[in-house]
């Protein structure tokens, strides 16, 4: 039995309808691909609680997530944009949403992660001075360092050159495995399939 279950989840709007029905084991990484409009982002928003399904159930460890508001779900999500507050530094951005774990060991984890992602020298800067790929890596770092066990990544490698892309991909996989995270990763790069334990193509 999976730790994350989407049980005949259906969501319909005026001109489209989507259905999801699958399970994912604890600690697994699932990559999601598909045309635009196939419902990749919608799936993440449903799990995170920004959208509500019309029918069906979403369960985490056997308990339905649907009654829970966004802030009470065990989710850490990376959005397609607006992941960083523009008016505070990268370092302060990284410290947000860390709950009670902001200790010395957390600081070390941030520095290590930043080194690994090649953004170690950017921590004191303001987000506006960063390139798209750099911003994305900052957001990625925070998303995976947060304590939540379920990680949702929406196009996390946008704006990165092929080399950085590969590096960041490897880091995500290693970090998720080390932390025992369950990951849904939306991507449109075929090469990212290698990062997943399982792959799904939506809308076929």
């Amino acid at each position: 039995m999976g730790v994350l279950e989407l049980d005949r989840v259906r969501i319909a709007r005026e001109d489209w309808a989507l259905e999801y029905d699958f399970q994912l084991e604890s600690g697994a990484i699932l990559t999601l691909q598909g045309r635009s409009g196939a419902g990749k982002t919608t799936l993440l928003l449903l799990v995170a609680g920004f959208e509500a399904p019309d029918s069906g159930d979403i369960r985490w460890q056997g308990h339905s997530l649907l009654p829970l508001p966004v802030a009470q779900r065990p989710v850490s999500m990376l959005f397609q944009d607006h992941n960083l507050f523009e008016h505070i530094s990268v370092w302060r951005n990284l410290g947000l949403g860390m709950g009670r774990q902001r200790t010395r060991s957390w600081e070390q984890a941030v520095r290590d992660g930043a080194e690994a992602l090649g953004i170690g020298t950017l921590l004191g800067r303001m987000p506006a001075t960063l390139s798209g790929g750099q911003r994305q890596r900052v957001a990625l770092l925070r998303t995976l360092l947060r304590p939540e066990p379920l990680v949702l990544l929406d196009e996390p490698f946008v704006g990165m050159d092929p080399q950085t892309h590969a590096l960041a991909g490897e880091w995500v996989r290693a970090r998720a495995k080390a932390g025992g995270k369950t990951v849904l990763l939306v991507t449109h790069h075929a090469q990212d399939r290698a990062l997943g334990d399982r792959n799904r193509v939506l809308g076929v």
């Binding site: 508001p69 966004v70 989710v75």
Partner: protein
């Protein structure tokens, strides 16, 4: 994502604040309804005196609004089409200063310039008279035209570059460009601005108090005051206040339907504006120059007062009055700014939950004191507290309270767009990060930055300029600077009035400068 945002404790607090605000108006009405056995006197409504006042109130407001909009539009165009104008930034700051200028500073300037022995009096002919409709219109246009200029200029900046590019590429002649690109952008705005200025002038007190007079030039607002303060005719005051509120309230509701105003914030943009030809450049330049002259003269005329300071002048009362004004305003500005922040919370929530009707209702409730004329609120409270409290003792508290509710809408207008922008960008992120309250507030505090300073400065300015509330609840023991100016002017001590005005002008100038600075830093 309608249902995914929840209010929490903040919403309860905010609703309590909103109830408090509504209660302030409620008490005023309770007073107006005539609790203490005094009833409104419908007989007043059959008096020709009443119709004279009503007619004049409407006439001067309509003329003021019409003139402000008609004259403001060309100035806004000049600013827009000639980006290289000298002192453009300074001029825009001056516009802001004029809009928030304490009325009595302006009136002193106008009297020194255009009064019986004013500097320009010899040019104006023998039958020129500043007092009456002409003076009131001059003052109202001076105070409101700059506001119209800023708002229309801002509106013009919103014309997308792509529209100009297309129009130029198609080779459209100037008139067609105006009809297709510019006019649709400003058309709706002109009406809203006209309506807004109409309400402001309809409710105007100090200008009419100082420059009006006699039954031919009295407005409802002033008549209410006179009925109360001089004749102590409560029933008449009540009737007039009711009529005043009914008219202003109706207009306010109508205006709300036409669309809100986000007027004080200046933005950058408009790089592709077509370059005007030589003649229209001259025209724009001339309009700009005339407007700058019109705005500067009544202020500059205060300066020579420095040259010969009368021996009778005592500095101590002047400074004491300034300190009183400042302390009263400060006591009002801190709660007003915080309350505005708090009251916006349920509105932002309604916006996030996509409940526009709820948001509109909350918005209307939180800004309704913009419609309630200061005098109506004051009279209501006056009647209410008279048998209950010692005014000599409670006066300052009431002045602060009433100024608080009267300036609150302006603080709201300053903070609202910035916070809505915050939500539009970051609401999912904040929810996703599960930020705790203190963390969230610290984030917003930093985000608001300049807007918070701007709200602070604006409320401070408006509260410092108050005359209407003080006129009812104040007394000589703690007189404010604007009231001191009025007293000097009323006793024809123009030198002293000029100096006091100059002092107030300088303080306001510094505050306006800070306000504009704050905005630059807030990006």
């Amino acid at each position: 994502m309608p249902s995914s945002y929840r209010g929490g404790a903040g919403r309860v607090l905010a609703l309590a604040g909103l109830s408090g605000l509504v209660a302030v108006t409620g008490v005023a009405f309770y007073g107006l309804i005539g609790f203490s056995g005094q009833v409104a006197d419908p007989g007043t409504l059959q008096d020709p005196y009443f119709y004279g006042i009503l007619g004049f109130s409407l006439k001067q407001a309509a003329l003021s609004a019409g003139l402000s909009v008609l004259l403001g539009y060309p100035v806004a165009r000049a600013l827009y089409y000639l980006p290289g104008l000298w002192f453009r930034r300074t001029f825009l700051t001056l516009c802001l200063l004029c809009f928030v200028l304490p009325t009595l500073v302006l009136i002193t300037g106008l009297v020194l310039l255009l009064g019986h022995s004013g500097r320009l009096a010899p040019l104006l002919g023998a039958d020129w008279n500043l007092y009456g409709l002409k003076g009131i219109l001059l003052a109202h246009v001076f105070l409101n035209l700059p506001f119209v200029v800023r708002a229309l200029y801002l509106q013009l900046l919103h014309i997308p570059d792509t529209a100009w590019r297309l129009a130029l590429q198609l080779g459209l002649p100037a008139l067609t460009r105006w009809r297709l690109v510019e006019w649709p952008m400003v058309r709706g705005r002109l009406l809203v601005l006209g309506g807004f200025v109409f309400v402001l002038c309809f409710n105007s007190f100090a200008v009419v108090l100082a420059l009006g007079g006699g039954p031919q030039a009295t407005t409802l607002e002033l008549a209410v005051y006179q009925a109360l303060k001089y004749d102590f005719n409560l029933p008449e005051a009540l009737t007039l206040a009711w009529v005043q509120f009914a008219i202003a309230g109706t207009l306010f509701v109508l205006l709300g339907r036409l669309g809100g105003s986000s007027w004080l914030v200046l933005e950058q943009g408009g790089d592709r504006v077509p370059v005007p030809g030589r003649w229209s450049r001259l025209g724009h330049g001339g309009v700009y120059l005339l407007c700058a002259l019109f705005l500067l003269l009544p202020l500059l005329v205060l300066l020579p007062a420095l040259a010969d300071i009368p021996a009778s002048l005592r500095l101590a009362p002047l400074l004491q009055a300034l300190l009183n004004s400042f302390l009263l305003a400060l006591a009002c500005v801190i709660p007003a700014t915080l309350l505005a922040w708090l009251l916006l919370w349920p509105q932002r929530l309604a916006q996030l939950q996509q409940r526009p009707r709820r948001r509109q209702l909350l918005e209307w409730l939180s800004t309704h004191t913009l419609a309630a004329p200061a005098m109506v609120l004051s009279v209501g409270w006056y009647v209410f507290v008279l048998p209950r409290l010692d005014l000599a003792q409670w006066g300052p508290v009431l002045v602060v309270l009433l100024n608080l509710v009267l300036t609150l809408p302006f603080a709201l207008q300053q903070l609202r767009p910035r916070l809505l922008q915050f939500d539009a960008q970051y609401a999912p992120l904040c929810a996703g990060l599960k930020l705790a309250w203190p963390e969230r507030l610290a984030l917003e505090w930093r985000w608001l930055g300049g807007s918070l300073r701007a709200a602070f400065a604006l409320v401070l300015l408006l509260a410092m300029g108050d005359v209407a509330v003080f006129a009812l609840f104040g007394n000589e023991a703690w007189t404010t600077l604007p009231w001191l100016i009025y007293r000097y002017a009323a006793t024809y001590r123009m030198q002293e009035a000029a100096l006091a005005s100059l002092l107030l002008l300088v303080v306001c100038g510094v505050l306006v400068w800070l306000l504009e600075q704050g905005r630059d830093g807030g990006a």
